[in-house]
């Protein structure tokens, strides 16, 4: 709403400069987008919130200023000269068939007007408000809309059939060509203004007039429509029609039904002034929606309960009076100024449909009095604060990942369906958007893999080839039509595990890096069990499934090298490793393991290490070696570790060499050479027997 400073002054004798007025308006609830000093003087650009349609006119803004500055508001009382012989009610009839859509319809008729361009002052005012000038009569209706905030429509009276207006619901399949030349299909529920006893639609009620009856330069006689339409009906209609106009904005937010007749009179007055002609006597005014003004009581007790600080009677009453609420003290303590028991009965003005409860009056008083006048105070907390239940587990996990060199990522979960499907388990139902902005963002990610792969793609495309990322986010899926959001950790890495530096050579990130890093976070939850297998979009030779806790527990995630087929879709030219874990069980186990963790006394005696270098057939695993040694049941064996592994030179084809390091330790006594030799012998024969291993050296 563009508010011209000099126009405003017609309604309130404010002397403060525009900048100050703008700032005071902003601090009392009318947001200010800016102030312009243009060809037509200073214009304040007010962003009126949707609950305040009354401020979509000069009069409404002036009322705010009158309340802020405590200056009298100059009301408008148009008194156009009327014909002594002809009456409006003889020239036109009005019938409202849909009173739930149209609460009031007034019609005035001006005969013998001369349609011509508007005078400069009128053009300037419209221009200052951002409206184009068309002709004097059309401009006048727009002028009154800006002045009083109430929309009007003018018809060429002679083009209205039968001069019988009917306001009704649109019928299914009905069409109307509006002023803008567009033929629109209508929906039942849209209010229609019709002529010929309702046979022909001549306007979308409260939104836009029809093309067939509009004012032209040959128009002689004018019918002024000034009505009131139901806000919800108008909002429904504008949403259906995707058509928003100055009129629909005001009716859609709630215009003032009492203003309709005044605005019509004002319009007639200006037409007589600028276009001449004769105004038929009286007005045809059908007003089925007339209601008695609502009474609302404001008590000081409630004001204090909500605001926590007081406003003196004098200020409170002045504010409410200026805004049109006509407060009257009704409590038994009427004589006592600023009594804690004070109560005021207020009358809801017809232009303030938004104020209907006591709390609304509290806000009215507070916003004009000034929110800065209520002293801030930090309230005491009466209950202990709690973090999220998984706060500690997640914090530890996050810190550990960061320590391991991963950057935390946050991705937008909207992805292309095709991409999402690359990683989607067959049984996961995708959460698809009904109204996506684009194909590239048409579904919510079913896994975290898809967006983390996207983040790696971004980095590779921007020259960053060494990337380690993690995201703690959600998977979005539907299960039986219901949404399920699962908290997951996704890890992605590519490029160098260690970059070429002054002291060390470069080394590429490989599966063992991923496994080591996962095991480092798995340690927080008691350790992962790694098993063969995994989703088919991971390389079949370099992937694993992870479980927590007991053998046979549900898998909680997978990790591995992105399969070539999928990597090709992203145009990845280097190995990309990905892993994803369901965090529910990870967090659950974190607390379980933490609470059961007990101190283990450190051994007093030194341990002894022995290395066993064995040739194993390809396919035999370290786990089998470890199991064979542990199966011997030697209590002094405290650790079995893989110390080195190689293939190639000096290793027979089809075999590989594994260096197994076994630590012996006794809590009771220092182990003798003989004991250790005995253990070693048993280990060697066990490996030979169960695994067919051949001892290489010791």
């Amino acid at each position: 709403m563009k508010v011209a400073y000099n126009w405003l002054k017609e309604f309130v004798d404010v002397t403060a400069p525009a900048e100050e007025i703008a700032s005071r308006l902003a601090l009392s609830g009318t947001n200010i987008a800016g102030i312009e000093n243009g060809a037509h003087g200073t214009v304040i650009d007010a962003e009126v919130s949707s609950n305040r349609p009354d401020c979509l006119g000069m009069l409404g803004i002036a009322r705010e200023i009158s309340a802020i500055y405590q200056l009298p508001l100059k009301h408008i009382a148009p008194r156009p000269a009327e014909s002594r012989s002809a009456k409006a009610s003889d020239a036109v009839s009005v019938k409202i068939e849909a009173p739930e859509l149209c609460g009031r319809f007034t019609a005035r008729v001006v005969r013998g007007v001369k349609i011509q361009p508007s005078p400069t002052w009128l053009k300037n005012r419209l221009e200052a408000a951002g409206m184009a000038s068309i002709s004097n009569v059309v401009d006048i209706s727009n002028y009154v809309l800006l002045e009083l905030g109430h929309p009007l429509h003018t018809f060429d009276f002679d083009l209205l059939r039968n001069h019988s207006i009917v306001v009704r619901c649109a019928k299914a399949g009905e069409k109307l060509k509006t002023l803008d030349g567009i033929e629109r299909s209508l929906d039942p529920g849209i209010p229609l203004v019709c002529d010929a006893d309702g046979a022909r639609a001549v306007g979308l009620g409260g939104i836009m007039g029809g093309g067939e009856t509009e004012i032209s330069f040959s128009t002689k006689n004018v019918l002024i429509e000034c009505a009131w339409f139901d806000p919800v009906a108008i909002r429904r209609a504008t949403r259906f029609l995707k058509l928003h106009t100055e009129a629909s904005t005001r009716f859609g937010r709630g215009a003032d039904p009492e203003m309709a007749e005044t605005a019509s009179r004002r319009c007639a007055e200006l037409i007589l002034q600028l276009a001449g002609g004769e105004l038929l006597a009286g007005v045809v005014d059908v007003y089925p929606g007339k209601r008695a003004a609502k009474k609302i009581t404001l008590t000081r007790a409630e004001f204090l309960r909500v605001m926590g600080a007081d406003v003196p009677d004098k200020d409170l009453e002045a504010i409410l009076s200026a805004l049109g609420f006509a407060p009257v003290r009704v409590d038994d303590n009427r004589g006592a100024a600023n009594s804690l028991l004070a109560a005021w009965e207020c009358t809801q003005p017809s232009w303030r449909a938004d104020v209907e409860r006591e709390i609304d009056l509290v806000e009215e008083v507070a916003r004009i009095y000034g929110l800065g006048n209520f002293p801030p105070r930090l309230p005491v907390a009466r209950i202990a604060a709690a973090r999220l239940p998984h706060h500690e587990a997640e914090t530890r996990l996050r810190e550990r990942l960061i320590g391991l060199g991963y950057h935390e990522a946050i991705t937008i979960p909207h992805v292309a369906e095709e991409r999402n499907d690359l990683f989607r388990p067959p049984d996961a139902q995708v959460a698809k958007l009904a109204n996506p902005l684009s194909e590239e963002a048409s579904v919510l990610k079913s896994t975290g893999f898809v967006t983390l792969a996207g983040a790696i793609e971004w980095n590779l495309n921007h020259g960053q080839r060494n990337v380690r990322l993690f995201e703690i986010g959600r998977q979005y899926r539907l299960v039986d039509g219901k949404p399920v959001e699962t908290r997951v950790l996704t890890i992605g890495a590519t490029g160098a595990a260690r970059e070429q530096g002054l002291y060390d050579p470069a080394r590429e990130y490989n599966f063992a890096d991923l496994k080591g890093d996962l095991d480092a976070i798995g340690a927080l939850s008691g350790g992962f069990r790694w098993e063969d297998g995994g989703p088919e979009w991971l390389n079949a030779a370099k992937r694993g499934t992870l479980r927590l806790g007991q053998e046979g527990n549900q898998p909680i995630g997978a990790a591995g090298l992105l399969a070539k087929r999928v990597a090709d879709k992203f145009k990845f030219r280097q190995d990309v490793f990905l892993a994803e874990l369901d965090l529910g069980p990870v967090y659950c186990m974190f607390y379980g393991v933490k609470n059961n963790r007990r101190y283990e006394p450190l051994p007093r005696l030194p341990g002894v290490e022995r290395d066993f270098s064995v040739f194993l057939e390809d396919g035999k695993t370290f786990a089998e070696v470890k199991k064979a040694i542990e199966a011997l049941g030697i209590p002094e064996v405290t650790s079995v570790a893989a110390a080195d592994l190689f293939r190639g030179k000096n290793v027979p084809a089809g075999k590989y060499s594994l260096l197994v390091r076994v630590t012996f330790q006794s809590r009771e006594a220092t182990l003798t050479e003989a004991q250790i030799n005995d253990f070693s012998g048993r280990i060697i024969s066990a490996l030979e027997k169960t695994l067919g291993a051949s001892l290489r050296a010791r």
């Binding site: 929110l371 105070r377 935390e408 109204n435």
Partner: protein
Amino acid sequence: MPTVNNPTEKTLAELGAASREEVARLFAEVRTRFDSQIARPQDAHGWTILRVLWLGRKGVVTQITENWLKPAPLELKRVIGESLNSFKEHVEVVLADALAASEAGAEAALSAKDRVDLSLPGVIRPVGTHHLIRQVFQEIEDIFFSIGFSVVEGPEIETPYYNFEALNIPEFHPVRDDMDTFYLELPKGAPGPLLLRTHTSPVQIRTMEKRQPPVRVIVPGKVYRRDNPDATHSFMFHQIEGLAVDSDITFCDFTGTIDYFVKQFFGESVKTRFRPSYFPFTEPSVEFDVSCVFCGGSGTANSGGTCGKCKGSGWIELFGAGMVDPAVYGFVNYDPKKVSGFAFGIGIDRLAMLKYGIDDIQAFFQNDVRFLRQFP
């Protein structure tokens, strides 16, 4: 002591010293000898030899103990003991200092090829970073946690009831036009509709459904609005919702809480103001402004022109808030006559952009490692 006439090789009787004065004179003589020896510069080896000569098993201090102290008559024992201790301490301190100084000097004197070049990097171990949005979340969470706000979460896929209706935003409310909403496509027969929450406010309702007052929670999370992406718009962004409901919470408590938060976050010098505004689920509603952190609230940039960040107003709009509208209590079976409270919704991305001078919101979600590394 490789000198002739060394008095410590003899007993006091042999030296003819029988009085306190004689003893003091002898100690003074020995001390003069020591001080004259250490006055000459030595290398580390030289100092080690001196240490053996004076403090070693056959050194001067031992000799004094053996020759002077032990055979001394009872009346002189005490004065000899005290003098000896004092002398011994003097020798130890002086020699230790001299040795340390000479070692440091020796290292410094090493050739340039053995010396570290401090301008070279150390071994660089890759360390990750918290996402900046996460850092800001954490900072805000910690501030509110310290004044009694618990942290809760809620679903991002919501029903219109929680996202709109229970927040006093019925269908066809004008505010819905400002919150362009993503809806989910649902299989036939599924209960619906479902949408992506446009704010974290639904968690207000979910929390009040579960808890009775007093309630004090903050809700960090992702929210979605169907805006075309540009430098200041992302169709996903982050909010922290706050809600406090109790039997005696007033507007003054609300402004005091917000004031406290902002001063913790931006610093004590920041000025704050509350402008009346409109939201269907709060009343009175406010927009909360802070004095521009770029121009100090003057509206004038350092370069002299109008401050671009606050467009010369000196104020930056931070977020919307207000007292919970009594109508909302009706949806969660609270008695609006007995309870009152406030709610706020802080846009995290915008706050981070303001605080760190980031001019493109998309940078948060591209996850370029060069961006992430800037905020360790």
